[in-house]
């Protein structure tokens, strides 16, 4: 694992803030898309792309790279923004999100953009693909230190296919697979506990032979430590349940499930009017100055 100094953590927090700004800008330009998930996963994506992943933005198909599979394809604004900031393509291209002819399809498409490992969006199938990658890698290299990371939503675990994939990962003892669950507690129709309760996720994963860790998904050092431990697990796949605050970073959007599938300018107006939503979000993020507020989750 990579050990992070306090300075490293501060730099990553700054990256996460830049990513959040880009997310807001691209969603406003697109006029549609998902807000809450991308914002709340910005810290983890900054950590992954700027510290954890073995990858090379100048050679996206480098054979020995780690693989990052985004199973919850709808949170792709955070993937695209992070990839742009990491150097895969110009940051200016981010505002083409969802527009005709763009490489930044509304849900990620592998053949459209180098560096996107797989096409996703229909929920539940990304984990299976990550499991397939982990099995194939192990066939070729039983002592592999190449990791397959799979980012899933939490609502996504209502899909049966996720548990089919989890069952196979447990059976195959895929210790080169690290699953990260964005446990933000919301989905498009409401709070996960109301739509379809998921708990106890920990018990469920343990029953499927996963090594389970739970972390504050906004505490970069804590997530990094968990990934380091996951990398050293043997004979089991790992899952990190990252407890996040939906729409983290823009306080007037946070924790409201109605921000799941709406962009700034089209969200709920209880706390901020539609004409003000994008301005308030950008101002809020600019004044954070790289400091991520302590999570209270």
């Amino acid at each position: 694992m990579n050990y992070l100094s306090s300075e490293d953590v501060r730099v990553l927090e700054g990256r996460a803030n830049d990513i959040r700004l880009s997310i807001i800008e691209m969603l406003v330009a697109a006029g549609s898309g998902h807000t809450a998930g991308p914002l709340d996963m910005a810290d983890i994506f900054a950590l992954l792309y700027f510290s954890v992943l073995k990858h090379n933005p100048e050679e996206p198909n480098w054979e020995d790279r780690d693989r990052l599979v985004l199973s919850a394809g709808h949170i792709c604004p955070v993937l695209y923004a992070t990839m742009a900031h990491a150097g895969y393509f110009p940051v200016e291209e981010l505002t083409t999100l969802r527009k005709f002819g763009t490489r930044l399809q509304g849900h990620p498409h592998r053949t459209a953009l180098p560096g996107v490992e797989t096409t996703s969006g229909p929920l539940g199938s990304g984990l299976s693909q990550a499991v397939g990658m982990a099995i194939a890698e192990r066939m070729d290299n039983p002592y592999t230190s190449k990791f397959i990371y799979c980012v899933t939503g939490d609502g996504e675990w209502q899909e049966g296919q996720m548990w089919e994939a989890a069952m196979l990962a447990g059976k195959e003892q895929l210790h080169n697979l690290v699953v990260i669950v964005d446990r933000n507690g919301i989905q498009i129709d409401g709070y996960t506990k109301d739509v379809m309760p998921l708990e106890s996720l920990r018990d469920k994963f343990e029953a499927f032979n996963f090594d389970v860790q739970e972390v504050d998904g906004h505490n970069i050092r804590m997530v990094n430590d968990a990934i380091g431990k996951a990398q050293s697990v043997y004979g089991q796949p790992s899952v990190i349940i990252a407890h996040t605050v939906a729409a983290k970073g823009v306080d007037v959007f946070e924790r409201d499930f109605r921000w799941h599938g709406n962009p700034p300018g089209k969200g709920p107006e209880d706390r901020v009017s539609r004409d003000e939503q994008s301005k308030v979000a950008l101002k809020k993020l600019r004044t954070l100055g790289g400091m991520i507020e302590p999570s209270d989750s």
């Binding site: 693989r67 599979v69 498409h109 592998r110 053949t111 490992e117 797989t118 096409t119 996703s120 969006g121 229909p122 539940g124 199938s125 990304g126 299976s128 693909q129 990550a130 499991v131 397939g132 990658m133 982990a134 099995i135 194939a136 890698e137 066939m139 070729d140 049966g160 296919q161 089919e164 994939a165 069952m167 196979l168 059976k171 195959e172």
Partner: protein, 327 residues
């Protein structure tokens, strides 16, 4: 008469009877010997789909996913992303039936180099009943971009199709049957993805003629029906079309140019499969009367294969009748 390369025994009672699924098992082993990246996945139907032949030979390249066809499709996609050439096999009703969206998104749209084998295709599955009789699978796969759709005529051709699919870059769907069916083709018979083959040239000298286009294991009955019709004085040719997508439009155009009307024959819904594909093509290029032998918008049921083929109008008598209707 019949093409010179087909098995001479088809005109005798000694015709070899082999399930076309056997060709999958043998072809998979051959493909595995040719290319060490070939891997196989199965969802608890390893022996029934004949994947066990590969499993026995290459145990380290076989993945048992359990009864989980949706997972199997996407796991295969992930393996393809790492350079493998995965074959996934189940009953056609479950794959590509149950897992259609995973096949569409994670294999076809994702352009993953995965090969799908739909075993127990057609109503000749018999006593298992309609739940297990896939007669919609070619339609499901044909509408998906990037997907190649093949219905081999017999076990010999199925083996060739599997080897060809392993060499082809991109998604391929191959349907095979459960029941023993006549072996028509031989090692000498040509096979290439996307190529049709004339198997019977009309030899009666009637004023009007009919071109039969057939896919899959009904090739045998189409040939014997064609011979019967020529003997009765009706000029009939039989074009064997194992690849339903991409359609061999050149061969189809020639057939249409040389015959007054067309009959399509398939063990599948008359909607959306070979019959649909032929009608779509001809209506845009050379409109003429097309009769379709297939299942007409119904589900199957339990019964012996023979009873079902007769009941749903997929046997020799049904082909003869349809030709006489359209001639």
């Amino acid at each position: 008469m019949f093409a010179s390369h087909i098995d001479k025994k088809i005109t005798t009672p000694d015709v070899d009877m082999v399930p076309s699924r056997n060709g999958y098992g043998e072809g998979l082993v051959a493909a595995g010997e040719q290319n060490e990246q070939v891997v196989a996945l199965c969802a608890d139907l390893t022996e029934s789909t004949r994947t066990h032949l590969f499993k026995e030979q290459f145990p380290e390249r076989f993945v048992q996913v359990g009864i989980a066809e949706q997972n199997m499709a996407s796991v295969a996609s992930g393996m393809a992303a790492m350079g493998k050439v995965p074959f996934i096999a189940s009953y056609a009703m479950f794959s590509p039936g149950r897992n259609w969206e995973q096949v569409r998104t994670t294999i076809a749209y994702n352009d993953a180099n995965v090969k799908l084998i739909g075993a127990h295709a057609g109503i000749s599955v018999g006593p298992d009943g309609a739940t297990h009789q896939a007669i919609e699978d070619m339609a499901l796969m044909r509408v998906v971009p990037n997907m190649v759709v093949i219905a081999p005529a017999d076990s010999v051709e199925a083996k060739k199709a599997v080897v060809a699919a392993a060499q082809y870059q991109g998604p391929v769907y191959i349907r095979v049957g459960r029941e023993k069916t006549p072996v028509v083709t031989t090692e000498a018979s040509p096979f290439a993805i996307g190529k049709a083959e004339m198997m019977l040239d009309k030899y009666a000298s009637s004023e009007r003629s009919v071109g039969i286009v057939v896919t899959g294991t009904l090739l045998y009955v189409a040939l014997v029906a064609g011979r019967e019709l020529n003997e009765q004085g009706i000029a009939v040719s039989v074009l064997h079309m194992p690849t339903v997508k991409p359609l061999d439009t050149e061969a189809l155009a020639s057939l249409a140019a040389e015959h007054d009307s067309i009959v399509t024959v398939e063990e599948h819904q008359a909607i959306g499969g070979l019959g649909g594909a032929v009608c779509e093509y001809l209506s845009e290029t050379n409109p003429k009367k097309v009769g379709r032998v297939g299942v007409h918008d119904m589900f199957g049921q339990s019964g012996t294969p023979e009873e079902l083929m007769a009941h749903y109008g997929l046997d020799q008598a049904a082909i003869v009748k349809k030709v006489k209707e359209v001639v």
